[in-house]
Amino acid sequence: MPAFTDLLFFAFAGLTLLFGFLCVANPLSRNPVTSAMFLVLTIVSMAGLFVLLHAFFLAAVQILVYAGAVMVLFLFVIMLLDLGEEERRKLNRVALVSGSAAVIGLAVVLGRALLAAKPMAKAGAVAADGDTGALGRILFQSYLLPFEILSILLLVAMVGVILLSKKESR
Amino acid sequence: MTKVVDRKPLTFYERTYLPTLLEGLKVTARHFMRSVKGGNAALQLGDGYYPEVPWQVAEGYRGAPYLVRDQDGNTKCVSCQLCEFVCPPKAIRITPPGADGVPADRPNAEKMPREFEINMLRCIFCGLCQEVCPEEAIFLQKHYSLTGLTREEMIYDKERLLQLGGVHAGIQKWKHKLEEAREQDTFPVKTD
């Protein structure tokens, strides 16, 4: 039933965009907790998109790691800091110009990349039915170096946090 | 001089939480087995327990506060509102008589509350109202199990409080004052 899958795709894609928009520019509420909750919904809808691509592993990990852990930490921090309603700020001209320049630049790069890409060449073969084995092979063979570098980056961040938060002991 | 008591360091075995776990298991299992085997008298179904046989309160028990009447059947409360003021959960609500309100049903006492309400949902049976009352008009009595179907029902009004409270025979201060005044023929005394 390709039509049904397409329908689901558009539903999830639309929801992702809607929730993403509500996360950053909610016209009804400027509450940081509301924004965080919409980010969670964005992540969940994106997981839906992954499921449609038969990337079950990725979908599950997306929810487990981002929605389940990272966002809970976000919420934890927001609540502990007791952030109030965000004031609607006046637009800063410098920020506006530089911000839109950045967005346009990013859009150009992304557009070119998308145009250059071959549509759906062999993506299906790699993540067929969420084969964790295939994913593991890619991660630990083809992209081992970036993976390890990322791990070291995280390690560095972790060490930094421990150093910063550790109490002075004499 | 503070005395520092050193904690006995736990052994590795103890730090695994296992001994306490086993100990707990032993205790709970022992009680469970005893209950199941019938060592527990309470297990025997039957009568003699609370809902069927109401609990007899002890002397001096402090239950719900009610208003009382004196031996002549008059309202003792004079609407001084001290109980309303002292009530920690703000359960008492008194409507004073005002200038044109009904005078007290006792001669000489001049006033009594137009309305006296106790919200039994708020009342904590602390007894401060009884403590503070200069007229001995409110007493904590023996009711402890107050129920109702609505919140409104649990706000007891003056009539209900007086009816539940009954009669408290005590010194009739205002009557005594009136009699004392009547014995002095110097001044006419208003009796109503």
Binding site: - | S79, F85, P134, K177, Q184, T186, F187, V189, K190
Partner: protein, 571 residues
């Protein structure tokens, strides 16, 4: 010396008062030799005033700052000592260490018995030593209280004074706690109807005569007196004559016990429940300072609040009892558009749009001198924006020699200073009526007044395309209005009035507005924004400060600097 000096020079500083040194509780202080008495004339400083300056309050019943001294309650007895004089040499007797020897006020034939002096009437002299905390003073106070309580009925539970009763307070502070009195108390009449507003309970009276002195010396109506002898002393009026003048209720404030009580406040609410809010009386242009006693959004009484620049500690009965209208059940509660209930946003938006669309000069505004100065200022801004003529309504009555002003509007000067009315209120009203009759004025905005009573009759109102009325109580104008915007009484908002003498006084909010009613300044602010007249601050403080910057008459004033007593501006 020229007596033709209309612009009096700046008043010269009063000549420095001579100081004398005395000791209070062993602590040496310097006090002025004379101090103003109840009429403000300099008189030798009394022991009571000296103790007050030393920070030691002497208890008293009959003494009152603003009344002649009687010295009959004996509560202020204080032990004292004076430097000894050698009768032969007329020189002070000195102790071995060179300090003057002090003769304590104990009786010569009974050395243990203190012989104090009444502090309210005894002047001090140089070198005097006062002992307001000594055991002898304490003993005297205890004895006086015991004697005052001999015949007191102790019926605090049914006494309205309980909670603000000096007898209660001093009994706690200085009394003995038990009575040695076993005989039957003398019973006197209770609940005596003294006049239309006063009830007297003779048993509670301690015969301090404050009420007698007030009615004689302040109110000028020698109505009260003391009759009978000894234990049977009672306060009374002349037989068959009620105690009735416009200041009788001040005796209730003065009465330190519950003998004189107000019929209006009688048995209404215990005083310890009342929230006290500093406010200003609105019954006339005098602007007496008052304290509003309210509980849970119900106002129970007004009391005068001392302010020597305005009303001293007094106020008139008429103003004091003029509070019931705030709690009236027919108060305007709903925002109405053509008689139908609507929301504030809808009504204010519609009114703002129609006013903004009206051609310049076709709108007129009638404001009220009962409104706050800030509101009048906002109305003026709105009028300037719309090119509208404005005025307020005069309200005249009879003045008396004490406090009541002939102008019965609390803020006529505010209306003048903000430019709402011309030098005299109401002279532009006929012009507005003519404009409506001629058809040049087609929209009218009315604040807090019934214009049908003031020359703009119902027939004229019917000709208007738009009639907006903001008021507190319904009247003929609100009945005819297309839009009704419910407003607030002064007790429900904050703001300032300018009294007849140009004193800017602020008042605070005591109770919540009824129903949907809102302070006028709030929706005026929205109207201003809606008609494009700009943004104004949202709070009473901000509004006042902004007004002080814009209106020359208030230049340099600030909300915070007004204080509780107010500030004078030239009028």
């Amino acid at each position: 010396m020229s007596n033709a000096a209309p612009n009096a020079p700046a008043p010269t500083a009063p000549p420095p008062v001579e100081k004398i040194r005395i000791k209070v509780d062993g602590r040496e202080i310097e006090v002025p030799k004379t101090m103003p008495d109840w009429q403000g004339r300099p008189q030798p400083t009394t022991m009571l005033q000296a103790c007050h300056l030393a920070g030691n309050e002497v208890p008293h019943y009959c003494y009152h700052e603003k009344l002649p001294v009687a010295g009959n309650c004996r509560m202020c007895l204080v032990e004292f000592g004076t430097p000894m004089m050698d009768p032969a040499t007329r020189k002070p007797v000195l102790e071995a260490d060179g300090s003057p020897r002090i003769a304590r006020s104990v009786l010569p034939y009974e050395p243990q018995t203190p012989r104090g002096a009444i502090a309210c009437a005894t002047p001090i002299s140089p070198g005097m030593e006062l002992y307001p905390s000594s055991p002898a003073t304490r003993q005297m106070r205890e004895a006086v209280l015991e004697s005052l309580l001999v015949n007191h009925p102790l019926d605090c539970p049914i006494c309205d004074q309980a909670g603000e009763c000096k007898l209660q307070e001093y009994s706690v502070e200085h009394g003995s706690g038990t009575s040695r009195f076993v005989e039957a108390k003398v019973h006197k009449p209770k609940a005596v109807d003294l006049g239309p507003r006063i009830v007297l309970d003779d048993e509670r009276c301690i015969l301090c005569t404050r009420c007698v002195r007030f009615t004689k010396d302040i109110a000028g109506d020698d109505a009260l007196g003391i009759v009978n002898r000894g234990s049977y002393n009672t306060i009374a009026t002349f037989p068959g004559r009620p105690f009735d003048n416009n200041y009788t209720l001040n005796t209730v404030d003065l009465c330190p016990v519950g003998a004189l009580t107000s019929k209006d406040f009688r048995f209404k609410m215990r005083v310890w429940f009342l929230k006290e809010t500093r406010s200003v009386c609105t019954s006339c242009a005098t602007g007496c300072n008052i304290t509003i006693g309210s509980r849970e959004d119900t106002i129970h009484r007004y009391e005068p609040r001392g302010n020597d620049a305005v009303n001293g500690p007094w106020m008139c009965d008429q103003g004091r009892l003029n509070y019931r209208w705030i709690g009236r059940s027919d108060r305007l509660r709903d925002v109405l558009a053509n008689g139908a209930k609507t929301t504030w946003k809808a009504a204010v938006d519609a009114v703002a749009a129609r006013l903004a669309a009206a051609p310049s000069g076709s709108v007129a505004i009638v404001a009220s001198a009962r409104q706050t100065t800030e509101e009048l200022h906002l109305i003026k801004k709105l009028a300037d924006r719309l090119g509208a003529p404005t005025d307020s309504v005069p309200r005249e009555g009879e003045a008396d020699r004490l406090l009541v002003n002939a102008d019965r509007n609390p803020n006529t000067n505010g209306a003048r200073l903000t430019g709402i009315s011309f030098t005299e209120a109401g002279i532009r009203l006929p012009g507005i009526a003519d404009g409506i009759r001629a058809g040049t004025i087609r929209s009218l905005v009315v604040f807090g007044e019934d214009v049908t009573q003031h020359g703009i009759g119902a027939d004229l109102l019917a000709r208007l395309e738009l009639l907006v009325a903001s008021d507190i109580l319904p009247n003929a104008t609100t009945a005819a209005a297309h839009y009704v915007l419910p407003g607030c009484a002064h007790a429900e908002k904050r703001g300032t009035f300018v009294n007849a003498k140009g004193r800017v006084q602020r008042f605070l909010k005591a109770v919540e507005p009824k129903g949907d009613a809102r302070p006028e300044a709030e929706f005026l602010r929205e109207l201003l924004a809606g008609t494009g007249a700009g943004e104004v601050p949202a709070t009473a403080e901000g509004l006042f400060n902004a007004m002080a910057r814009e209106v020359p008459a208030f230049a340099g004033l600030e909300w915070a600097a007004l204080g509780d007593a107010g500030v004078n501006v030239p009028v």
